[in-house]
């Protein structure tokens, strides 16, 4: 009797019924959704599991496409274009173009239990171009984009798809990384949204400041031919007396100096720190004030404010902002004097 029970368990409890060979499934590493002529275009980047890892001639990935007026039909067509059963558990990124409404596509993705939603939403202009690109660094473009995201410190849990959609549902503004091809795949900027409406991409200057605030390391700050890089930073929003104090505390090390400073003297560090604090104060306050004029709150300040004063329900443009920016330069590298 025990043996019979054991056989039943072995057959049924080991999941034989759902058994699939690795070569029988199409592992989708990235999905792209764009809108062209009022039609959804869905592209999958699929890992070629039959490719030989060591052979450079073997195709490591391939793309399939589906297009239709309805998203669900476009997805079905893309699925049908696959010779194998689609496997959505390993998606790294979901590429979208700026004309795709995130909330329109989110319900299907949210509801489908076979899609692991632990991926990042990424903006781009031409999804086909991105997926067709052959990178020398990483054969799979979705993985390459995911690695770039980690570099800009965007790989926080709260930037995952579910959380972005949740912010949109609650009426908050979001930002998404923007990927382009510049000889290689590169994250050139971020796209900012006023709730679910795409507004614009940050320009290079704004993106640099965004990276300071997002704790990206080793981004240079330049002031009169002197330069430092931030190696440690912390951004806090202190809400008191109906005011928001934006506190940015960072530690910097000197990149290069053209002015004469005696770095054996502690006062020189204080002087450099003050100079760069002032520079950063100007840059950060201008950046956030410009966003405030457009009423776009990519840092979730309004959410924090309205959580604290939940009867107020103010908009970002109505908030009173104060800045407390400190850069503490405490590393000079291996040189005490400028090499000139």
């Amino acid at each position: 009797m025990k043996k019979i029970i054991l056989i039943i368990f072995i057959v049924l409890l080991t999941g034989c019924y759902d058994y699939r060979e690795l070569n029988d499934i199409a592992i989708i590493s990235g999905v792209g959704i764009s809108k062209e002529d009022n039609e959804y275009k869905v592209i999958y980047e699929v890992i070629n599991t039959e490719a030989n890892k060591e052979s450079s001639n073997d195709i490591k990935k391939y793309n399939v496409t589906g297009q239709d007026k309805e998203l669900i039909n476009a997805i079905s067509k893309a699925n049908e274009a696959l010779a194998k059963k689609p496997y959505f558990e390993q998606i790294k990124v979901l590429l979208i173009t700026k004309d795709v409404n995130i909330l329109d596509i989110s319900d299907y993705i949210f509801r489908n239990e076979r899609i692991n939603t632990n991926f990042y939403l990424v903006l781009c202009d031409d999804i086909e171009e991105i997926f067709d690109f052959t990178s020398v660094n990483e054969p799979n473009n979705s993985i390459a984009i995911s690695n770039l995201i980690k570099k800009i410190n965007y790989d926080k849990i709260t930037n995952l798809f579910d959380f972005v959609v949740d912010n949109l549902i609650q009426g908050y503004d979001i930002y998404l990384p923007y990927i382009t091809i510049d000889n290689e795949l590169s994250l050139d900027s971020i796209g900012i949204y006023d709730n679910d409406t795409f507004i614009r991409y940050l320009n290079q200057e704004e993106y640099r400041i965004f990276k300071y605030l997002n704790k990206v390391k080793d981004i240079p700050i330049i002031n009169n031919n002197n330069s430092i890089k931030i190696y440690n930073s912390k951004l806090n929003f202190d809400i008191k007396n109906n005011k928001v104090s934006i506190k940015y505390n960072s530690k910097g090390s000197i990149n290069y100096l053209s002015n004469e400073y005696n770095l054996r003297d502690n006062n020189s560090y204080k002087e450099i720190s003050k100079t760069f604090s002032d520079t950063l104060y100007q840059e950060v306050s201008n950046f956030i004030n410009n966003l405030q004029k457009d009423n776009i709150d990519i840092f979730g300040i309004t959410k924090l404010y309205n959580t604290k004063y939940y009867n107020d329900k103010l908009e970002f443009k109505d908030l009173k902002l104060e800045y407390d920016i400190k850069v503490d330069v405490d590393k000079a590298g291996t040189s005490f004097k400028e090499a000139k």
């Binding site: 029970i5 039943i8 368990f9 049924l12 409890l13 999941g15 019924y17 759902d18 558990e89 390993q90 949210f110 239990e113 076979r114 692991n116 939603t117 632990n118 849990i157 709260t158 579910d162 959380f163 949740d166 549902i169 609650q170 959410k303 924090l304 959580t307 604290k308 939940y310």
Partner: protein, 323 residues
């Protein structure tokens, strides 16, 4: 007679079992981000209630005809819930293409075999499985705590009706299944039962803190299984991802142990008729619940009330005679 340690372990699993797919989702739905307050009050209320319940003689009550009927109905209800939850967990996240009957049948065979082996075997099994459970819970806590955002617990807005309902439901979910364990034991150690209950409640409380602290009440409310979604966020050492299928074993352990204890109670009450009840029950469970979403939704919406009725009945049971 089972040891004090096993009593604690069984109380631990029984106090947790109704939270997967039901308790956590239900409480968050009723009280949003103040769930952590309502559950805390609910657990304390449950502790006080359980303290008085452990003074009563459920074993003698279980020997009487009304006792057998009441405890058996409660046990059947909980086994039914366990089978539904087991099926949901398996069919939604593991065996998508497998028919439900092939999922619940091995579950019932396993329970039938466990019940046939008796309480000592169930106790030994619980001692083995608890090690896995505690190890996983510890790993999960270490992973979740750094991702908790304090702001997700605010603002605290109290809605009186839901606040009270949420407290009562928490008490019912965590306390009522333990009545089955009390009915099976001739002598039990109150301290061990209460210790197991306390640890069970703490683990659920921490799970709730993690869910609301990470997702926020809005997102947690959108998910049908927030506790499973939470497991999807586990990343160990920056490279071990997508381990949710492994970590979900803690819920399987709770469901299995609870189903075993409850089924054993049914066997004690029904004796020779147990096998017939088993067959009828599997058919009812399959055709009316696992294969019918509306009926399982009835379980989702009304379990708190049903358990509360059993809890109120248990309050009127006579006290244990002290020597």
């Amino acid at each position: 007679m089972i040891s004090n340690r096993v009593q604690s372990i069984l109380a631990f699993t029984l106090s947790r079992c109704l939270y997967f797919g039901l308790g956590i989702s239900f409480i968050i739905n009723k009280s949003n981000n103040i769930s952590i307050i309502t559950t805390l009050i609910g657990f304390i209320l449950g502790y006080i209630l359980l303290y008085f319940l452990t003074k009563k003689n459920f074993y003698n009550f279980f020997k009487t005809i009304p006792g057998k009927i009441i405890i058996s109905i409660l046990a059947l209800y909980i086994v039914n819930y366990c089978a539904i939850a087991f099926n949901i967990l398996s069919s939604n996240f593991y065996l998508v293409n497998t028919p439900s009957i092939l999922i619940i049948l091995p579950f019932f065979i396993l329970i039938w075999y466990g019940v046939k082996c008796g309480l000592p075997t169930i106790s030994r099994l619980s001692e083995i499985l608890i090690i896995i459970s505690i190890t996983i819970i510890t790993i999960l806590l270490i992973t979740f705590l750094p991702n908790i955002n304090i702001n997700n617990f605010f603002p605290i807005i109290l809605k009186e009706n839901n606040f009270i309902l949420s407290i009562i439901s928490t008490t019912a979910f965590s306390t009522t299944p333990i009545i089955i364990l009390l009915s099976l034991l001739k002598e039990y150690n109150s301290k061990s039962i209460l210790k197991g209950y306390t640890f069970g409640c703490i683990s659920i409380f921490l799970a709730l803190i993690s869910i609301i602290g990470i997702f926020g009440s809005n997102l947690a409310n959108m998910y049908r299984y927030p506790e499973y979604k939470l497991l999807q966020q586990v990343t160990l050492f920056d490279f071990l991802e997508n381990q949710e299928n492994f970590f979900a074993v803690i819920w399987f352990i709770d469901l299995l142990m609870t189903a075993l204890i409850s089924s054993y109670a049914i066997k004690v009450a029904t004796k020779d008729k147990f096998k017939y009840i088993c067959i009828i029950f599997v058919l009812i469970n399959y055709f009316f619940f696992t294969n019918n979403y509306q009926n399982s939704l009835f379980i989702y919406n009304n379990t708190n009330i049903i358990l509360l009725i059993f809890l109120i009945i248990s309050i009127f049971i006579k006290k244990q005679k002290t020597n």
